[in-house]
Amino acid sequence: MIDLTIDGRKISVREGSSILDAAKSLGIFIPTLCHHPKLSSFGGCRLCIVEIKGTRNPVSSCTAPASEGMEVTTSSPQIERLRKMVLELILSDHPYDCMLCETAGACELQELAYYYDAKHTTYAGERRKYEKRDNNPFLNRDMEKCIMCGKCVKICDEVQGVGAIDFAYRGFKSKVCPQYEEDLNCEFCGQCVSVCPSGALTGRMWARKGRQRDIREVDTVCPYCGTGCNITLHIKNNEIIRVSSSPDTWNEGLLCVKGRFGYEFVNSPDRLTKPLIREGSAFREASWDEALEYTAARLLDIKNSYGSDAIGGLSSAKCTNEENYIFQKFVRAAIGTNNVDHCARLCHAPTVTALASIFGSGAMTNSIAEIENAEVIFIIGSNTKESHPVVANRMIRAFRKGAKIIVADPRRVPLARFSEIFLQQKPGTDVALLNGIAHIIVKEKLYNSEFIKEQTQGFEEWMKSVDSFNPEYTSSITGVPKEKIISAARTYGSSRKAGIFYAMGITQHTTGYDNVCAVANLALLTGNIGRPSCGINPLRGQNNVQGASDAACLPDVYPGYQSVGSPDVREKFEKKWGTPLSAEKGLTATEMMPAAIQGRLKALYIMGENPVLSGPNTGNTIKALESLDFLIVQDIFLTETAKLAHVVLPGSCFAEKDGTFTNTDRTVQLVRKAVEMPGDARDDLQIISAVSARLGYKLEYEGPEEIFREFREVWPNISGISYKRLNKKRLSWPCTSSNHPGTPFLYKQGFPKGKASFTPTAFAPPAEETDAEYPYILTTGRNLYQYHTGTMTRKSGAIESHAGRAYIELNTADAERLNIIQGETIKVSSRRGSINIEARIVDTISSGVVFVPMHYCEAIANILTLDALDSRSKIPEFKACAVMIDKYNSSPPDLI
């Protein structure tokens, strides 16, 4: 500790603290414009200057380290005069248009000018004038207002890892700009906007929507990926006009392009505002009474004619825990079947099944915040920088702190830039790669014997299963050079603070279950579980996919993963819900489609899902949905799936209701209503209750909080969580009592089911391999800008204008061989169908592999994919199928 005196007051601070930090901890105000606590110190604005006894010139307190015995004066006539001069110099080179400025009222410069009575005329002189305007769709860059604080430059580089902007030129002509002063073309996360202290950087879509007056701010949770970033909605006249995030949120104010700029869908004129009933090939608007009566009558009819199991429900990972809880309760109690599932089937079904069987619970073992202290980060099958951008921010921070990153992926994903080792594997070779890594760890005895002995079983037997995966063999399957496999094994195997992060690249395979087991084996082998900053970390794709699973929109469990096959459990729920329940496991989402085609499933109630785009083998999905006697779709837009429905019920979006979301690291967070629903759209809870009541089962609750109370009564893991507590602090389950602090990482006390088992896994190739006719492996996924089936993002103008076109990525060499040029429309076909799509020639993908994002209805990737399922988790193989590529000649069959 270091003792110093500031303004006559003594204080002890940690070594390495700046004078500014020390003054802050004494509550002394020092003005700053270029300082940001999470960024490296800059010392450019010169406002934070202080006097130190014994030094000739004042020093900037943000950069000067506190040292022993130092005597600091933070305010004196000279210092205040210098500060005023600095402000007046800035103002002398600043447009005097606060009347028109987007940031007025929230501008740090304006506030300090007011405080110091600084005038723009004192040092009047030449002002920077820039003719050029940046035409990117997201950010306004009015660089005449830039005060050169450099925070945007640093956050872009240090935190976002992009470095899209930097200082250019010298002297008065210095400016911040992208390379060659081109238009900005970056990730458009807007972190730069969030730290800009003046009006230089603003959201383009904010313009003239409102400033500080009559604005309501509502804190809630981002509706996109599973990261669960906290956001603040700025509301004026029932319209979201801006999204921000406070620096004191858990995500430290960081957001991605979707979270910050993808909010326009809420206010889209395309929102569903009235119930629709199909009449022939068209829809007509209907009253709620009519729509609900009709829905209930058709469901009752089918239930009476074919039995409860002829009806199924697909719930939504976009909806709240409460809505999901009610939805599955409706299906189980009111309809009387376990045929309820949701899109987790298409993403982390293998995670839930495999990890639950190994450890007793299937979720991210460690929290996102812990990532930054990891030594080794092993990312496999996750394009984290695009799919979970704010998780990637933590990884980059860990990298800055010295962590080593290993990335395994068929594509050179953006985070590979920060990797020490990049393993560009062939799609569908994960078991081989992971076993190959395990082989080296075993061979070189890098494993954690103590952990293996105390907390695992089956090690000896499992060890034999990796025996054959020597580097040569592994390399021959995966296409990864053996040196890299060895080096990855040594890096991961030697660390006891190493976390594995994975996503769809692991799960969306017919070997998805085995892939997850192979991941778990590595963690068990090295004992990288049960402690901070390590673990097995499935990154979940949807804002509330964890919650929808917890709430049991799954065909085999009641809320809290309690098996429907257990008579005791069933009895408990029958008692709680006051009605007999089915003992039969229900159909998974991927089993419902063939069941519909076979005529076993007659009716389907889909809430907030779009399987036409998201399900495998689109042709088959459409056929299945068209085979149904009755299809109900409850959504906020007329999706491709809704277009096939018999009745469409207009629901509500995240901003229009209260409830909770559970993010990928098991953290439950409050979602707060910010705006009213459009037209006659209704709260989803109300809609389900109304249908249920008409079916004779009452689901009556005062509101979401009461539902949450029921949920926590039936699942001990969240019994300590309440709305009251969540209002103050987010909580990660398990949280088992009202004073339990929540659990950032699991298994501190060992595994709940005792010793965890090693699971031998054998390599099996993808269900469909390439051949002479279909010589390319297609892999699918997401891009940074669009989200899933595009229901929301494609209704957000800026995103759509920037990333509104479907494309296929193919390797330069393949393009040359096929005589395809950049931007050309080509025809991609599989055994199931074909699409016409724009070619994007890249070097980030291996020759022989192509990639199509799943977002675009104009070129549906899933027309090509196959519906082969993993036998245990029933997940389809989205990540590998065989395709052929032709020059474009004719249109593919119109499927919709």
């Binding site: 010169r46 110099l89 200082f167």
Partner: protein, 589 residues
């Protein structure tokens, strides 16, 4: 055997020395090399008389000045063939007499010991002048600690201008722990009018390299960078050649001279930013980043290049090192004043009669340099002052020119020792314009980080521009004074804190000139175009029409053989008429 050497530093080359060298080589063709050798050397020092050719017959040396191709042939014919020197062109004989000997008389050459003497591209010639004996000596049994002690004892202070004890700097770097350390030579000489480092690198690159090797040994570094501005192509080329030769001979690389000491050197060319002369900005630049000063502490000795302990000195400092090691620190410290030891190289530019490179012992006065060594002011004009230390330095008036060359003494006057640029100004130099010139330079070269430097220096510049344009007001003076004072206090790096110095010193010593511009709309030096009128004296004008014919704007009219007149509304104050008039009939008012 006759040796002919041609001064082939940038000063010589720009005066045409390449042709002279070619001519001499041409005429020497056919004559056995054992009889006549024609070679290049570095800067001989008297840049004002370039091209310079020295002829030595083993007994006597003759320095010929202002050599042309014709003269070169004649010198060869007469001096080489007929063994008769062409005395009328000889300016110094035997380094001890001749019309220009005064220029050398008071100089002491330590840094410049080999400049203009040896062929800079010849390792053998450097070896012949005790080259690499110093490094050999320490590798043979002097400990790093002893080397540091010797440097401290010598009293050598950083010749880049900082004036920090070189020995202490080495000591800090040697005390920093770590397996990897760096030595950097700052050869980013950027002050307008300064060319000391360039001359040393062009004339004696090995002395700098040897100095760096000794430093590497002393602090425990095995790698060095010479950061040389790209505007010095000849220096870069000579350094690169020298390094290549040393590598080939095993004198750079692993286990030098069979010792455990290994050292490698790289030349990194700067991209033209003045601020990269600031050590932390220079380090950023080598690292591939924008050349912007970093915050100190940590100092480079603790955390420098690529985050590793680094010692950085400038060219002149390193060039002193081998001499100190060989001759002993006491001998070095025998020169100079109590706190400023040894010698200092100055690049004399501006209005001095003899502009060039001089190396003088510390403690000599400015007057001695300007009036005795450099022969006073050209054309008998009145000596007004010197600008020392470039844009960061200050102006010292002639009235204080008896001040001794000493770090502390110079600083007391508001100027700085600087790296050695000394611009001599006379009565025709406007001091406001001088301040404006330097401020325009720093404003352009500010890295743009600190508000006070980025915007503040522009606001000062705008005021100075107003004053030299005759549009200044009385309020401008206090505003200028206030800005200058505050900018110096509020800025972060050396560039910003010293940028106001030229303004502060001219305001201090030449305030009357500022006031004359403002109050009387007069430039006392008759130099500021906006305030000067060109007038033709009808009494002395002969009507020769020369001025009228040369005037670019046709502002002068008059009948042949009748007095001419200047039409002020057309005159752009270019001064051409003033220069061409053969009768002194045009004067400035």
């Amino acid at each position: 055997m006759i040796n002919i050497t041609v001064g082939m530093a940038t000063c010589g080359v720009s005066a045409g020395a390449e042709k002279i060298l070619d001519t001499l080589k041409g005429v020497a063709k056919g004559i056995p090399a054992s009889d006549v050798a024609v070679a290049a050397t570095g800067c001989i020092g008297m840049c004002y008389r370039e091209p310079l050719v020295e002829v030595s017959d083993g007994k006597s040396t003759f320095l010929y000045a202002d050599v042309t191709e014709e003269k070169a042939k004649k010198i060869f014919e007469s001096h080489v063939k007929d063994k008769k020197s062409v005395d009328e062109w000889v300016i110094i004989k035997n380094h001890s007499e001749g019309p220009e000997f005064g220029y050398l008389g008071k100089q002491v050459k330590i840094v410049l010991r080999n400049c203009g003497v040896i062929d800079p591209d010849s390792l053998d010639e450097y070896l012949g002048k005790d080259g690499y004996k110093a490094i050999k000596k320490i590798l043979a049994g002097v400990t790093p600690e002893q080397v540091v002690e010797q440097m401290i004892a010598s009293g050598l202070r950083g010749r880049g201008g900082g004036g920090f004890s070189t020995g202490m700097k080495w000591k800090f770097a040697s005390m920093s722990k770590g397996p990897k350390k760096y030595v950097i030579c700052n050869a980013d000489e950027g002050d307008p009018g300064a060319f000391m480092d360039r001359s040393v690198l062009e004339g004696d690159p090995h002395s700098v390299i040897e100095g760096m090797m000794i430093c590497g040994y002393a602090i425990g570094a095995s790698e060095g960078y010479i950061y040389c501005r790209a505007e010095y192509p000849m220096a870069v080329k000579r350094l690169q050649r020298s390094i290549a030769v040393l590598e080939e001979k095993g004198m750079l690389g692993d286990n030098i001279f069979g010792s455990k000491f290994s050292f490698r050197l790289k030349v990194k060319e700067g991209a033209g930013a003045f601020v990269c002369g600031e050590e932390t900005a220079l380090i950023s630049s080598i690292e591939g980043k924008r050349g912007t000063p970093k915050v100190r502490p940590p100092y480079p000795a603790a955390k420098g290049l690529f985050g590793k302990p680094t010692n950085i000195n400038n060219v002149e400092t390193f060039a002193n090192v081998p001499w100190i090691i060989l001759n002993g620190p006491e001998k070095y410290a025998a020169y100079g004043t109590e706190k400023s030891k040894g010698t200092k190289v100055f690049a004399i530019a501006g209005k001095a009669s003899k502009a060039g490179l001089v190396e003088v012992p510390m403690g000599i006065s400015i007057n001695e340099i300007v009036n005795e060594i450099c022969g006073g002011i050209r054309g008998g004009k009145k000596f007004k002052g010197v600008q020392m230390g470039g844009p960061s330095g200050g102006c010292i008036p002639a009235s204080l020119a008896d001040t001794k060359i000493d770090y502390e003494e110079i600083t007391k006057l508001g100027a700085i020792m600087g790296s050695g640029g000394m611009i001599v100004v006379d009565e025709d130099t406007c001091m406001v314009e001088l301040a404006r010139f330097f401020l325009a330079f720093t404003q352009n070269e500010s890295c743009g980080k600190c508000t006070s430097c980025r915007i503040g220096t522009l606001r000062m510049l705008e005021i100075l521009e107003r004053i030299v344009a005759g549009k200044g007001t009385e309020e401008d003076i206090p505003m200028l004074q206030e800005l200058a004072q505050y900018i110096g206090k509020a800025s972060s790096c050396g560039l910003g804190t010293t940028a106001p110095n030229p303004v502060l010193t001219t305001l201090k010593y030449f305030k009357d000139e500022y006031l004359a511009h403002i109050r009387d709309h007069v430039c006392p030096a008759h130099s500021c175009a906006a305030l000067v009128k060109f007038i033709i004296n009808p009494e002395t004008c002969t009507g020769c029409t020369l001025c009228a014919r040369d005037c670019p704007t046709k502002a002068i009219s008059g009948e042949r053989k009748q007095p001419h007149v200047v039409n002020e509304s057309l005159c752009v104050k270019c001064g051409k008429c003033f220069t061409v008039c053969n009768f002194g009939a045009i004067y400035k008012d």
